[in-house]
Amino acid sequence: MSRYFTDEHEWVDVEGDTATVGITDYAQEQLGDIVFVEVPEVGSELAQGDDAAVVESVKAASDVYAAVSGEVVEVNEALEDEPGLVNSSAEEDGWFFRLTLSDKDELSDLMDEKAYKAFVDNL
């Protein structure tokens, strides 16, 4: 399994044709207490860069964009009752949705862990 990152602070785990998407620990730290996550509908087709989800903190709403294109096959139902999972476990239990990749070449637009770390260190 490989993990990719975007400059919008999302992570993408790829296993075969399936990608799991969430926001990074850095992102949840910046957003603060998360009170609601609006995830996409299962079956929806996302193109890279589309609005995919919305993260609501006490203070503000933030868009999450589709890091890669594909069809949403599963969403994290646990976030409905426990949106704070994004704060406590952003890069594991706080995942947002899974999609079937429609264009694996798009992964080359993303950063690896080392590049993302360097990106964050420069912010």
Partner: protein, 380 residues
């Protein structure tokens, strides 16, 4: 936030905030602390203990000269000429057409009027006041004073521990003040102006302190176990729960007082006199004849509605708008303020809000959402 980050001013407590782990953001022309440990924790701390807020961005003004209250009444609807020394009144700065230019606190200090206005509007307010008030009055901007707010059920206990002295031996202590009363005090020889007031719905104090002593005072307060520093994020969620409107969001120059549900700021004597800026337009709406009105909303589900979301009717047409919205840490549910047509403003009315193409069911709610906990002389 899209505020210009150039030419931002620093608060007297800027280093102190950073040293306490604050995340700083641009607000009202200043770099200000939005949060320290987190909005939710800071919010709950203020509701249960005591929070210290730096509100030094706000404008502290002094209006001095004979007839100051009468003159200020020409552009505000508050009964300021009847304000006794040591008393505070909330009022509105009105444009000639009655639109709200700002909301402010006016204190009769006994020898002049002390005004606290919003940070984002203070320079415009000063220009308007200078233009409208007679030249015989002196308006001073107290730029060398910081303003700290100590808010929460333990604010009184905390302040009592500081060892603040009366300004004169037989004068009252700060803890003798009731809600909307103010006075001068001394702390280790430092002059403090203390008001029993605030913007959280809790009991508490607002303390004007010479800027060069602000760090000493903030440090002494936060060294007390019941006091923690609180950022702008929690200040906003606290005031929203308290039903208190935020200037520039829940009211502006296009909004008249009755529309903003600020009827209480139109005092009876001044309504009868009808001699303030825009009185004809303002009073024509009193008490409930405006076309729209600011109300509170309970939002169904867990997703907050935010400023800018629209209120729609069954046909999907826009009939109002959300002006503030967020998640209430106390109630653990989303709440909002919105403008809706007067006929839909009664408590319990079902309202539909549209946000990012999604319709969200809401219900008109009484404000405050969370009961006020003021230290009143007589319980209402």
């Amino acid at each position: 936030m899209s505020e210009n980050t150039q030419n931002l001013k620093q608060l007297p407590l800027d280093d102190w905030h950073r040293g306490h782990g604050a995340r700083m953001v641009p607000f009202a022309g200043y770099e200000m602390p939005v949060q320290y440990e987190g909005v939710m924790a800071e919010h709950i701390w203020t509701r249960t203990e005591a929070g210290l807020f730096d509100v030094s961005h706000m404008g502290q003004l002094q209006l001095t000269g004979e007839g100051a209250a009468d003159a200020l009444e020409r552009i505000t609807p508050g009964n300021l000429s009847a304000l006794a020394p040591g008393k505070i009144r909330y009022t509105l700065l009105l444009a000639p057409g009655g639109g709200i230019l700002d909301d402010l606190m006016v204190t009769n200090t006994g020898h002049n009027l002390y005004l606290v206005v919003n940070g984002a509007t203070k320079h415009g307010d000063i220009a308007y006041l200078r233009e409208q008030l007679p030249d015989s009055l002196t308006l001073s901007h107290l730029e060398d004073a910081a303003l700290l707010a100590l808010q929460g059920p333990k604010a009184e206990d905390a302040l009592a521990k500081l060892g603040i002295d009366p300004f004169e031996p037989d004068w009252p202590l700060p803890t003798d003040l009731y809600f909307m009363e103010a006075g001068p005090f001394l702390w280790n020889g430092i002059p403090l102006g203390i008001s029993r007031s605030g913007y959280t719905g809790e009991d508490g104090f607002e303390i004007s302190v010479p800027a060069e002593h602000a760090v000493t005072l903030a440090t002494a307060l936060t060294e007390l176990e019941e006091v923690r520093p609180i950022g702008l994020g929690a200040r906003d969620s606290l005031r929203l729960e308290a039903g208190l409107p935020l200037y520039g969001h829940d009211m502006n120059a296009d909004i008249l007082p009755v529309e903003a549900s600020l009827n209480f700021a139109l005092s009876k004597a001044r309504r009868e006199e009808g001699d303030f800026a825009g009185a004809e337009r303002v009073l024509a709406q009193y008490p409930d004849k405006a076309a729209m009105k600011r109300i509170g909303l309970f939002v169904d589900g867990r997703q907050p509605v935010r400023e800018g979301a629209t209120v729609v009717n069954d046909a999907g047409e826009t009939i109002g708008k959300v002006t503030s919205g967020g998640f209430s840490p106390t109630l653990q549910r989303p709440i909002a303020m919105a403008y809706v047509p007067m006929e839909l403003s009664a408590t319990g009315t079902a309202i539909t809000v549209e946000q990012r193409g999604k319709k969200i069911a809401c219900t008109v709610a009484d404000m405050p959402f969370v009961p006020h906990n003021y230290h009143r002389k007589t319980k209402p």
